[in-house]
Amino acid sequence: MRFLSRFSAIAVLVVFALAPVATADDVLPNWAYDLGARPAVPQVRDAKARIDNPIDRFVLARLESKGIKPAREADRRTLIRRVYFDLIGLPPTPEQVEVFVNDKSPVAYEKVVDELLASPRFGERMAEWWLDVTRYAETDGFNSDFVRPNAWRYRDWVIKSFNQDKPYDRFVKEQLAGDELFPADPEAIVGTGFLRHFPDEYNAVNLEQRRQEILNDIADTTSATFLGLTLGCAKCHDHKYDPILQYDYYRFQSFFAGMWPVEAPIATAKQKAAYDKALAAWEAKTADVRAAIEKIESPYRSRAQIKQRGRFPDEYATLLDIPAEKLSPLERQLQVMIGKQIEGAGADVTKSLKPDEKKQREELEKQLAELTKEKPKPLPLAMAMTDLPTPPPTKLLKRGNWRFPDKEEIVPGFLSAIDDTDAVVKATGQTPGRRAALANWIASEKNPLTARVIANRLWQHHFDRGIVATAGDFGVTGDRPTHPELLDWLAYELTDPTIRTEEGEQPPKWSLKHLHRLMVTSATYRQSAQGDAESAKADPDNQLLWRFPGRRLDGESLRDAMLAVSGRLNLKAGGPSVYPEIPAGLKGAGSPWTVTADAKERDRRSVYVFVKRNLRYPLFTLFDAPDRNETCSRRYATTTAPQALTLLNDPLILSFAKAFATRVIKEAGNDSAKIIDRAYLLALGRHPTSEERDILLGYLKDHTGSTSDAVVDLCHALMNLNEFLYVD
């Protein structure tokens, strides 16, 4: 590989000659394709300005150049609420607030940050946006919307990776080629689930179209996720002004052309061998019983399968009759697609059996059940990706249409604007090693995009808007960075850290927690969300960060916050997803939404709520969760009447209000003032002002219902406040 250095070497020189601090206007359209040298940390004029780390110098230098003053520091109650929601997605308890407010230590805040970064809740919070970016879901989409029973292991893998602070380069590599690069690590293959979250029309008849759509999805998602590039535009033809060529698109796609989706056991070679042995023993022992069952079922199965087979054009159906070794790689991929549909058609024939056959079968099933006690427990399976030994050829598709391939075969290669060489691909064991080559190229310190793209995503998470506002689009059509040098500096700080921790430790390379810590302990982050009117006039969009950008809770955090405040939150981590209550009458097509029986399980954190493509959990959708059909780098924050209606009238929200009220009465007794105080501390992390207290006392006094109704209404009102929904 050879990372080109053509564009911004000149650009950077020009920038420095013109202005002391680079601004968005100085950046060339193709700024992203080359990373300059590590920028020097700028000087600031105001000697008394609060500088907690170099981030503040970059931000302040820009503000000073425009004559804008940063806001004062936020008060401690605001700060702790902000950083809790930000890092773990939950509000602090009243006790946690008081400890922090009264902590005299000069590093009181840093202590809180370290606790939160070490909390298992941290990974749950961060996984949420990563799962948006990687279009993670637990169903296929389309009409059947089949469940993907092993998908959740990827979600847990993401949470664990963030919690462990897995080096980002390793995190990338496991997702793109965990099977090829880390065959000895049974967990690494779970990461390749990233390549499996494509929406899939399982029962499509047109198999080549289905295959091409999957490849498009994988290529588009990979480039958006790790490189912040919207490659999809180049699918059909070259674009003027855009250095990503159609040729590049198919070069990039060819890394995945040999895709071979598998449900892979998460186990060591030894565990696998032991399992296979035990299974073989069980199979031998039960061979007769199973053969007898098969004898009954087989005619019905064949009938269903023949019918299913008839749906397909002959050239696909005949693939079923040819041994795999005689098929071309493309035919093998298609054979598996059709084969699974045919198998599925005859999977359950119990309904078709005649009564006597049914009885006979039940008898045999009983015998089998007796023997099944000895059946080894299945190994946990990951929804994973590996490759055929030889991938099918990739060809440029005219107008992006799979029916019109070009003649010439395309070999794997990178984006020619960044690196115009072909990839050097070395086979790894059973697979061709293409994805390993791509993973190594992306997860390289020299790649001009990788570190900046992830640094920008973290910045967006903490400051609501990325330094590049289009976090999934660093290309010529995306926004320019507001603080280009800061972005570069952060990228270098990720790959080659220089700032030591409070304890004087050198952070490891590619540590995301290091960047998180720098960002949330900066003075920029600790600013108040309220600034003065003059700054607002000079920079109404707060592009230069003269105040902290407050934001609305997303649907997941809103639900978690209501669960936490009402005392119902179940913090159990990991495992299969849960199905909480949904409004009556709502059902998505395909697999059903069967509400989890155990009420405690229903109250688990939002990240563990089942992700059904045809029916995203309504409260999340209402507050702008994406549908997970394609990569999403940034959510909207809409404000709609249905949101208000739901927060006011939905039975689930009312049940939160009731639980909250019960908790408040239990903790505060029957005294109105104490009730109000406790409710405020729980919901908002502060005491009411005397004005607010008077209003609320009056409200409780004038309430027409019972005392408990009055408290329920009060608690419900608090959960509807702007202050509850928006975190300063």
Binding site: N203, P313, D473, A589, L721
Partner: protein, 475 residues
């Protein structure tokens, strides 16, 4: 902080959209005005009516979606040659035909229906739709429509969003995004389902894909409270609810004192007020007690077979009357028109359900002078094959099928496009889904190439990179 304003992703997008060059909208002037006023209502309400690119013929759209794929060759596109060749295979010249159930090589199945010419225009309708036939002079029948998908979910998705893959905004969302809506107390885009099922693909068919959710369709439910969570729970009651809302308002006012420049907070308070207004305006809109018995009867409310669809058609008229921009009704939701077998029984039932209410809607709109600026669309996601499936059914046919339009600037009493002698492929004046959408947007006053939304590096359009307005059917 502009990002919460649902219309534009960032200020930069707003400016590029407004400033021209990148597919500018004529609404630039209006948007700029909104920007200048910068009052909370202008900045926080993306639904205020907006001017399209040019004068619109249609103010509103009612899309009657026959889900599952009605058979054009049994309804609007008679094929004597098909009758003649009944029982024989397609001529070899047709080559290999791909269909989802592999019926390409099956023998041809003649229509059992009787066709007649109707109205002054002499449009063909079969005896399955006698009421619609009486409106012959109001309909333009597009006989050579084409779509890309073979299966339902992709094709329903394409008819709604332009793409067989999920993730793009629906037609109604584009209309709302471009035009806003006339009645701020009702959703601007309303969806009904009929027949007890869920449309294949569910809410994505009226979703916004990559656009802000603000523009999505609102599913109206049966009964007096059409919107989910519309009403105050009975055990809370209006007095308590009102007192609670007052409390929220008061506390929000205090909170806002130090945040006077934060328009999001105003917007949210407005949302509560709108929710409150909806609580009275939505039940009023769906309350039929003021409709005459004659009208109800015309829509078929007095008969079991037509009551459900008729009810929704009448509600569609009432909503459009009240300024709702886009109404969609799924007739036979859950792909009920999908007659893979027993087309006679299946279509016989569904036509009975759809026919009379459709005609009543056209007549009612006409009588009220509303048909001129209300576009009514009738059709499914594809048509059906002339080849038989089994002995009594027909497979999916996205290669050539009929869609009907009436009112809203469309010439009545005309046929546009032809299919081959069997009704399998469109051969002349083909109208692809993109062309169909381009035509609808044109009637709403938009150049489909300039109604764009910036997403993932592209100025996205409903019509992707194609689309031709079917000029021939325009008044």
């Amino acid at each position: 902080m502009n990002q919460h304003i649902p219309a534009f992703r960032s200020r930069r997008d707003f400016l590029r959209l407004a400033g021209g060059g990148f597919g500018s909208l004529a609404l630039a002037a209006l948007a700029a005005e909104a920007d200048a006023r910068s009052g909370p209502s202008a900045e926080t309400n993306p639904f205020l009516p907006k001017q399209p690119h040019f004068k619109a013929k249609a103010k509103s759209v009612i899309f009657l979606f026959m889900e599952g794929g009605p058979s054009h060759i049994d309804l609007f596109d008679p094929k004597p040659e098909l009758t003649r060749m009944h029982g024989k295979p397609l001529p070899a010249s047709f080559g290999k035909v791909i269909t989802p159930m592999g019926t390409g090589g099956n023998s041809l199945l003649a229509s059992k229906r009787k066709f007649k010419k109707h109205g002054q225009s002499g449009l063909d309708f079969s005896d399955w739709v006698p009421h619609m036939a009486k409106c012959a002079d109001d309909f333009a029948v597009l006989r050579a429509c084409q779509a890309d998908g073979l299966n339902h979910v992709g094709s329903v998705c394409q008819m709604n969003t332009g793409s067989i893959l999920a993730g793009r905004p629906s037609l109604g969302s584009w209309a709302l995004y471009g035009l806003g809506t006339e009645n701020q107390n009702l959703p601007g885009f309303v969806v009904f389902t009929e027949g007890g099922g869920q449309p294949f693909g569910g809410a994505r068919n009226w979703g916004t894909g990559y656009m802000p959710a603000t523009y999505q369709g609102t599913l109206f439910r049966d009964g007096p409270n059409p919107i989910l969570n519309l009403n105050t729970p009975a055990d809370v009651g209006d007095d308590r609810q009102k007192a609670k809302l007052d409390l929220v308002g008061k506390l929000n006012d205090i909170h806002r004192r130090e945040r006077s420049d934060d328009t999001r907070l105003d917007a949210r308070q407005n949302a509560y007020e709108l929710a409150f207004k909806m609580q009275s305006s939505a039940p009023e809109a769906v309350d039929l007690s003021k409709e005459s018995e004659k009208v109800k009867e015309a829509y078929g409310l007095n008969r079991k077979e037509t009551a459900d669809f008729g009810h929704r058609c009448l509600l569609a008229r009432r909503l459009v009357e009240r300024g709702v921009r886009f109404v969609q009704i799924y007739c036979g939701a859950g792909s009920q028109w999908d007659a893979h077998s027993d087309i006679e029984g299946n279509h016989g039932r569904l036509c009975t359900r759809a026919d009379k209410p459709t005609a009543a809607l056209i007549n009612d709109l006409k009588a009220r002078g509303m048909l001129d600026d209300t576009l009514v669309i009738w059709g499914g996601e594809f048509g059906r094959t002339p080849m038989s499936e089994g002995t009594t059914g027909r497979d999916h046919n996205p290669y050539g099928f009929s869609m009907l339009m009436a009112g809203g600037g469309v010439k009545g009493g005309m046929v546009h496009g032809t299919t081959d002698e069997f009704g399998l492929y469109g051969v002349e004046n083909r109208v692809h889904v993109h062309d169909f959408h381009a035509t609808i947007l044109h009637l709403l006053g938009f150049d489909h190439e300039r109604l764009t939304f910036f997403h993932n590096g592209r100025d996205e359009r409903l019509t992707d990179v194609s689309g031709r307005v079917a000029q021939e059917i325009l008044l």
